[in-house]
Symmetry: C2
Subunit: 321 residues, 2 copies
């Protein structure tokens, strides 16, 4: 398996063009005033499928040799990765089988189905999705599309930062959420190649702080039962491929609470007028609640990746006003 490179991110940017949008970068003078810095939001919540995940999924799926493509693809995910794989596979003409927990949000199951994916549900408490996926792969000869720990996935996700730095070549710092580390690892790889002076921060929810703990320990640690409203960041440990990149390039892993995440979601909705899901809002929360020192950025400003926007209105209504 090849390593993750800036050249790979540049190749991904070309490969994924038919499927991934170049998302807009938004600013808010209200937000800048609240945090005392110039902040640029890379809006992956406005991406195809509602999250950055289409970048990695399409980079991998559009790289599969034609003969293998006919045997289909398999993914296991309860969330945004599932939707992204369904969309990319449909575009590539590959049958997609997606293993999702039976209690995943109904609209996510339906969205994946609407893009032609076959959904295999499982009982989260009594079955292992890895076992199910392994059986599926054995039976079919399909290609696995993992959620983060694959070079093509990581390089695909890095295209978000490539676009941001093309738009804002003077950026001083970059903040991105960390789940398994695919987004942060890919972004760090390309940013350090384009502009080594950029300071890079990852952000995790306090209830899923596996990368924070790993970063402190200098080796991968796991959090067996992550508990947080940021459902996209519940992976129990950083990836084997992604963690070394994070160690090498990331200055600090910041941690925010669920209450802080809720406040950030509300700020982004009521002031910036965009819907960002809890997992996508951790970077904004870290800034709003002072986790990043005021000296982190000068005139070039801070880029924040808002990684996704998939949440339903009931969830939002529960946040109150």
């Amino acid at each position: 398996m090849s390593s993750i490179t800036a050249e790979g991110v540049r190749a991904a940017a070309i490969r994924i063009r038919p499927l991934a949008k170049r998302t807009p970068v938004l600013t808010s003078s209200d937000f800048d005033a609240a945090v005392g810095a110039r902040v640029f939001f890379k809006c992956e919540n406005l991406q195809t499928g509602g999250a950055f995940k289409i970048r990695g999924a399409s980079n991998l799926i559009l790289s599969i040799p034609h003969a293998d493509l006919a045997r289909g693809v398999v993914a296991f995910s309860s969330g945004n990765h599932a939707i992204a794989v369904a969309i990319a596979a449909q575009y590539a003409g590959a049958a997609a089988t997606i293993v999702m927990p039976a209690d995943a949000p109904r609209w996510k199951l339906e969205t994946a189905r609407a893009h032609g994916a076959r959904i295999v549900t499982y009982d989260r408490l009594n079955e292992s999705r890895e076992d199910i996926a392994a059986h599926l792969l054995e039976d079919s000869g399909a290609t696995l599309v993992p959620p983060f720990d694959h070079p093509l996935i990581v390089e695909g996700q890095g295209t978000a930062a490539l676009e941001l730095l093309e738009d804002l070549p003077e950026l001083d710092a970059l903040i991105a959420p960390v789940g398994g580390g695919g987004l942060l690892g890919g972004c760090a790889t390309i940013v350090k190649d384009m502009r080594p002076s950029v300071r890079i921060f990852g952000v995790e929810p306090a209830g899923a702080n596996d990368t924070f703990l790993s970063f402190q320990a200098g080796e991968r640690r796991s959090v067996p039962m992550p508990q947080t409203i940021a459902d996209g960041l519940r992976s129990p440990q950083p990836g084997a491929l992604t963690f070394p990149i994070i160690r090498q390039f990331v200055e600090q892993v910041l941690v925010v609470t669920d209450d802080e995440i809720r406040e950030a979601v509300k700020f982004l909705l009521t002031r910036l007028k965009i819907l960002v899901e809890p997992s996508g809002a951790v970077g904004a929360a870290a800034l709003l609640f002072g986790r990043v020192g005021r000296g982190a950025a000068g005139a070039g400003g801070i880029g924040v990746i808002l990684s996704g926007g998939n949440m339903d209105l009931d969830q939002l209504a529960a946040y109150g006003s």
Copy 2:
């Protein structure tokens, strides 16, 4: 008073640059599939102050001669125009006095105040805001910034369509909300100059269909007590300046119900991940509910102006899921 011209819109585009953002244009394959056309959303909900109103307000305020600017500006508005005037006056260094109903949403009063405006509240049932504004103008020699019926306001609002057509020179049709007609009138003026073949549609709520009635009658008609959730479109009649432009350039004035507007707000929030207030969503509602014939656009697509995003979470929560 000069007339409204495409040249005036072009001049406005340069004048308002320090204050108005070039807002992004978003697309959604879900929306396109739902309506059977390619649709391009001009996102004025992502504009400074949360609505297109900053375009007209800054075009007028940045045109006031220096000597007059020192005597300040006056506006009467319960909504987005108030915030826009406060922001533009603060930037220009002019004192702003804004006459708002005492029962206007608290956050709108606070936002206008936060930008340094003096707020004069009045009792909507027992006092006339026009009388109050007239007294204020007499006392101070301030410049009135009307919400729509002024060439500089109309030309300023037209810059939204100028940007949209610069981005999408092949556009087949344009849909914009109608309150007093400033946005629609300004947009129609520039669009018909740049690309006369573009079909132009206005959209009103059924409970505030004064422009629809006027359009049918061929002369201005009024709806004395407009009733609609689209609070930005409650002006009782089209403007004296704007109505002739609408008659000249607009093909049809479409009408949508409040329930249809709510559905459009929810679609835009859950699928496009953007918060659009009811007044801003009428164009999307007209498309979603088949008010525009499927033949309205070919490959060039339909531009829809989402005019604003200022609504609070309580209001949204009441829409249900």
